[in-house]
Amino acid sequence: MTIRLGVPSKGRLMEKTFEWFAARGITLQRTGSDREYAGAVGGIEGVSLMLLSAGEIPRELAAGRIHLGVTGTDLIEEKLALWDQLVLPVEELQFGHADLIVAVPAAWRDVDTLDDLDAAAAAFRARHGFRLRIATKYHRLVREFLRSAGVADYALVDSQGATEGTVKNETAEAIADITSSGETLRANHLKILSDGLILKSQATLWRSRTAEMNDTERTTLAALLGKLS
């Protein structure tokens, strides 16, 4: 049996992950055609590569179907309740930096903090008859963040993409989303609340706490982690 390593299956995240492992003497590559999610591992014996969607890697780690996986802190914390009992961060990979933030229209001169957002939400609800809508795909993280900050009278609306456009389209009044440079936010006339940082995320190598291992696999894992750290 082998140590199973899960890596994002496409785009920059995959390329950067491959580079990060290559710099440590482990070559990862895709095999077969570009559409096939199979891979090969060089530089060490007994490790197999699974190419997976970054969003599925948390679940696979939690279920113990992979021993190691690369994905963002944001996805681990959003998708896994009690994540620290299921997975262990091994190494931060220093790329894929992104912040999960709360943003409102830049024209809202009166709103700079969560305190302001709460007060604006109360007035908005009284005026419009429904709660101030915040578009996001990170429901759990955003709800917990706003609850601990004591923000009330808001409703989360689901947005799986182009979240920055929801305010202009009037399907939401504010957003909570991942941003790396803030460029897209500015282009969409949005600003980040000064205390609106929910989570700082980056691509991270995680180890499953639940995946089973025999002695051979344990040795392989130790050798692999030795090369990576």
Binding site: A81, D118, A122
Partner: protein, 360 residues
């Protein structure tokens, strides 16, 4: 020992029979509840507690997280007065933090809708539940959210500030932060000071539903608030002194009476606590050992606005309350479409009761 489901159901049936013997009508509201009502009452927080499902026809539905809301709706729609209801069945609670907590359990409840004597109704619910729990090593705690609400209403400050504090009664940290702000204990954030000084400008185009008028209105409200005098340190310490009360009933009452001298607005609410105490004694409850905690019930569901109580197992701090309840007059107003009626109720968890019987 964790009891089996059939043992729990048998226990639930016998508890419900106790309430039926008091003249309560058995009600069985549906498991699926329209999500809209619950979202409207609790906001987004309910999604962390209740399971949501949906279909294309009825939209979002929730698996009932408790019985109180559907029972109130049913009573307000076509209930006769006065009324006593009882029920037994599953409630569902989403668990995201503690895997040891049940996400589905049996609840037995008793709800009283009666205008004649609220103190007696409070005592009736508490005493019946207390009797049903007799023999178990559980301890009750009582409180009264109405006293804190009266104290807030009695503060010498603007109505807007009182409303803001009232809105966050059930979020103690936020409440504290607001009180610190209104009393000048925490400084005005730099961004707000700049805004009030007229130094915040933006060239960004206004997008979204919130209008320029709403922004101007809020800035105006902030200006008015900045001009209003701070809540005095004396008043803030009176609130702190109130929240600090955690004593057996006779001592708590004497401290409440003392506070009412400086905070006359709470007199009516304190009289209600005293009347309830007498009603409890009349029901055979030993109030000399009964704890009254003025801050109790502030982190639970936000519909209780008067008497609150809970029973917990001494030896099992890991377990949730075995029984809990309280008065929810305001909920009947919100769900009553113009009507309202004083109402009080409580629930027990037969599964936990059996578990405790097993270890004793």
């Amino acid at each position: 020992m964790i009891p089996t489901r059939s043992e729990t159901l048998a226990k639930a049936a016998s508890l419900r029979a106790v309430f039926e013997a008091q003249g309560a009508v058995v009600v069985e509201p549906p498991i699926l509840q329209p999500a809209e009502t619950l979202l409207d009452l609790y906001g987004e927080d309910i999604r962390a507690r209740a399971y949501v499902t949906s279909d294309a026809m009825r939209g979002e539905q929730m698996l009932r997280p408790d019985y109180t809301v559907p029972v109130v709706q049913m009573h307000m729609a076509h209930g006769a007065e006065p009324a006593r209801y009882t029920y037994a069945g599953e409630v569902f609670r989403r668990q995201e933090r503690d895997p040891a907590r049940a996400n589905e359990f049996i609840q037995v409840g008793y709800e009283v809708f009666d205008r004649t004597d609220p103190a007696a109704a409070d005592a009736e619910v508490f005493a019946l539940i207390s009797q049903a729990l007799s023999g178990l090593l559980v301890k009750p705690v009582t409180g009264d959210i109405g006293v804190l609400m009266a104290a807030v209403e009695g503060l010498e400050t603007t109505q807007k500030r009182k409303d803001a504090l009232m809105r966050h009664i059930w979020r103690p940290r936020r409440f504290r932060a607001l009180l610190d702000r209104f009393s000048g204990k925490t400084a005005v954030p730099a961004s707000r000071a700049a805004l009030l000084a007229g130094n915040v400008h933006t060239a960004a185009p206004l997008i979204g539903l919130r209008s320029a008028q709403e922004i101007e209105d809020r800035i105006e409200a902030l200006r008015a608030d900045a001009a209003a005098p701070a809540i005095s340190g004396e008043q803030v310490s009176l609130i702190a002194a109130l929240l600090d009360i955690r004593e057996v009933m006779p001592n708590a009452l004497s401290r409440l009476h003392d506070l009412a001298v400086d905070l006359p607005a709470i007199s009516g609410a304190v009289d209600r606590v005293a009347a309830r105490s007498d009603a409890l004694v009349a029901r055979g409850i030993d109030t000399a050992t009964l704890v009254f905690d003025a801050g109790y019930g502030r982190v639970s569901m936000e519909y209780y606005d008067g008497f609150v109580f809970g029973f917990r197992a001494d030896a099992r701090p890991d377990l949730p309350a075995v029984a809990s309840g309280g008065r929810y007059d305001a909920l009947t107003r919100r769900l009553g479409q113009g009507g309202e009626i004083p109402a009080v109720g409580g629930v027990m968890r037969p599964g936990l009761m059996l578990e405790l019987e097993g270890v004793q």
